[in-house]
Symmetry: C2
Subunit: 446 residues, 2 copies
């Protein structure tokens, strides 16, 4: 994309309404625009990151054997009356009447609707196990929306639901989700720690939240800091192998890590002092096992291998897709702006032309732009008639992890400069070598 | 995808509520489920087609130089009061009050919001031309939703908005949209004819609808049937070349083709009798030029090259993404089921194992499945313990354009059968040759 033809409305001033750094930087980098309290437009740069995050979530869900579908944003109230949550949910549920005065609502989550789909179409244990998920806009009418997309009212969430014949199968589904989530967050450059949590209005016994450590987090967290060193890395996990999946979960949940809701001071005190940490965390996902909480009242039963009708065992599993943009920025920025991890960056590299209009510089930039595209990498080429300082400031603000700087002086020596946004380190390279380096870097993030 | 692990709830019976063939087939093929009047869940197969269609729309918009973003589903009423449409829109607009009693609405279209984004961030002719678009769920509270996704209440639409400094530039944007739409529909296997239309509540002078001919269409159409022979094909169009783009538009809009709204009996009579046709059509898109209808009341002004403040010239351009599934099926089906065009098929091919459990047949199917995946083609492998007739019926119903049938008898001769869903013709081939043929076929649809 050539910046002269793009729509990137960066702000020079710090917006006064933003209380936390991710909100401030998303506004300044021209990623979002508030349309009403807690309701945002995703401007082109923000939309690109949102789509990359969504894509990673899809890929990891499909890798785990989960099946995508899409439920609508509006739901009939009657479904929620069946589960008893229509009255219980409170003022956060946005209730709507249509032109025929029928009670509708903007879905804050989808347990009821997916259970309805299941009971209408599935009747036998032979069709299990089954995990269905979707990525759809939700609405929760928060009293005081704030922190930008971190606590918006209209937000994008991945929510998945497993259906299993018995509790052991359902607990395997729970574990499978945990592992797929660990991989999902790692691909986004995040360390998200699974912590035992409270189940809240979803209900159920087993639940873990995934928390990204950040000073601005809404939850207080207590943990053994060796938990932050755990990595899934590029190991292959066979999602059909119950023991292997359970083994990974054990590895990631044995060290102490809890939110204030489930904190146990005595157990915490057992951690060696040098590893005992108190901090804050941002919740970016949660998994639940809740058994027959919805299948019983809603009649989602299947025939088991003995010919008996049994309510299906369920769980639900969510990732806050739009909220993740805020969480990633909270975890990865500096005083100049955002620093995107390679896995989610909106463009793979920026190209800064130090002397727009100079024949050699323009030609070298065009050639680089095309060579990157041919290699499957998307560059943002700053081809505006601006001074170098302004171009650097924009690139630093929007946080592309790699920048190629092209100027007449370097070209005389046959080189361009490749700069890491994270370290600030630069290297002079022939243009082809710079392209080859970027190809190599991103090969690890495919 | 292995069918034994998929969620494909096909129906044996014809659903009584479906009045038209696309609605009936989408229900029978397990593509959609109605959750409330005019509100559908997209089950896995339907979701896959929806995503393919969405992807084609994105690719062709980006090819034309248009920039994607995403506006929210809910909008504040105040924006619509500025344009005067809040009261004018009528009962089709779903009006909502949030917990603080603020007036909101579920967006039926986005002229106001995009104009608001534009006026907040763009001030100079130097930032023009600019075309922004999104693909987002909309809601229109139809009195009597029907025909499945063809006339739903919650529906997915691509809507794009051009901003130009003067009328000639804006008319070029209009033409550019027309050409990009022609290419979009052709890639989906559709013949969609641009017809001069009425502007309705969007307003404006110039507008064309794109209509797919089908007996179940909601509009009566009058046309010279030579218009159905026009093809864009694989010619390259330079979207920055005003004359070239205008030339394509002229080619596609010179022959008579109008809806009943703009029909001119005298002109129609001039068509040679053998080419004069009356039929019905399904609207799958519409483009509008409306100048300053929104920019004037909403103060979307830019400074031109003489330093004067002028309201920006606009147009809006929509494609009915979810409705397209219905339109494609109306145009492409037979008594056995759907026939997907290659461009939008949910899976590239089906694999039918005639004797599940037979070692040679199972191994050949697995090998084919993997070879197709390695070639970038996704197969739906029917690995269930069902008789051949049931497997064929399912494949015919869901409409994958190509089927590979694998059985012990063929394998003894070293062949499998490749069958075209459209023609019913079969060919015996070595498995590798079948894969090669499919690769060749789909290379034309990338």
């Amino acid at each position: 994309m050539r910046l002269s033809r793009y729509f990137l409305p960066v702000l020079k001033e710090n917006p006064s309404e933003a209380q936390i750094v991710s909100h401030r930087l998303m506004l300044r980098a021209g990623m979002i625009r508030q349309q009403a309290a807690g309701i945002y437009s995703w401007l082109p740069l923000g939309y690109k990151v949102l789509k990359r995050i969504e894509q990673i979530v899809h890929e990891e869900q499909i890798r785990a054997g989960h099946i995508p579908l899409l439920m609508p944003t509006l739901q009939p109230a009657d479904l929620w009356r069946e589960s008893g949550r229509y009255d219980a949910y409170g003022a956060e549920m946005l209730r709507i009447k249509d032109r025929h005065e029928r009670d509708m609502l903007y879905g804050p989550t989808n347990e009821e609707m997916i259970t309805d789909i299941f009971r209408s179409h599935v009747g036998s244990y032979k069709d299990l196990p089954l995990t269905l998920y979707h990525i759809q806009w939700k609405f929760r009418d928060e009293v005081r929306p704030r922190f930008g997309v971190m606590r918006g009212r209209e937000f994008l969430m991945k929510d998945g639901y497993n259906f299993d014949i018995d509790k052991p199968s359902a607990l395997h589904a729970y574990n499978r989700h945990m592992v797929s989530y660990l991989r999902t967050y790692e691909r986004m450059g995040l360390t998200a720690i699974p912590m035992r949590a409270d189940s809240g209005p979803i209900g159920g016994d087993d639940t873990h939240e995934f928390l990204v450590l950040a000073q601005t987090g809404e939850s207080e967290v207590f943990y053994d800091d060796r938990v932050t060193q755990l990595k899934l890395g590029d190991r292959e996990v066979d999602y059909d192998n119950w023991d292997e999946v359970a083994g990974v979960c054990k590895e990631f949940t044995t060290l102490y890590a809890r939110t204030d809701e489930t904190h146990d001071a005595a157990k915490f005190a057992e951690i060696p002092e040098e590893h005992r940490k108190v901090g804050r965390g941002i919740e970016v996902g949660q998994i639940f096992f809740f058994g027959t909480k919805y299948s019983e009242p809603m009649g989602a039963v299947v025939v088991n291998d003995k010919g008996e009708r049994v309510p299906v065992q369920m769980g639900s599993h969510g990732i806050g897709v739009s909220r993740l943009l805020g969480a990633i920025i909270e975890a990865s920025h500096d005083e100049k702006g955002i620093i995107w991890p390679e896995g989610v960056t909106p463009f793979h590299a920026g190209i800064v032309n130090l002397k727009q209009g100079d024949g050699a510089a323009d030609a070298a930039c065009e050639a680089l732009y095309k060579a990157l595209a041919a290699a499957g990498l998307e560059a943002l080429y700053d081809d505006r008639n601006e001074r170098a300082g302004a171009k650097f400031a924009t690139m630093d603000l929007i946080g592309l992890p790699w920048r190629i700087t092209v100027g007449p002086r370097g070209l005389e020596k046959g080189v361009v400069e490749l700069t890491s946004r994270r370290t600030g380190e630069s290297e002079e390279l022939a243009p082809e070598a710079a392209v080859a380096r970027l190809v190599e870097i991103y090969a690890a993030h495919r």
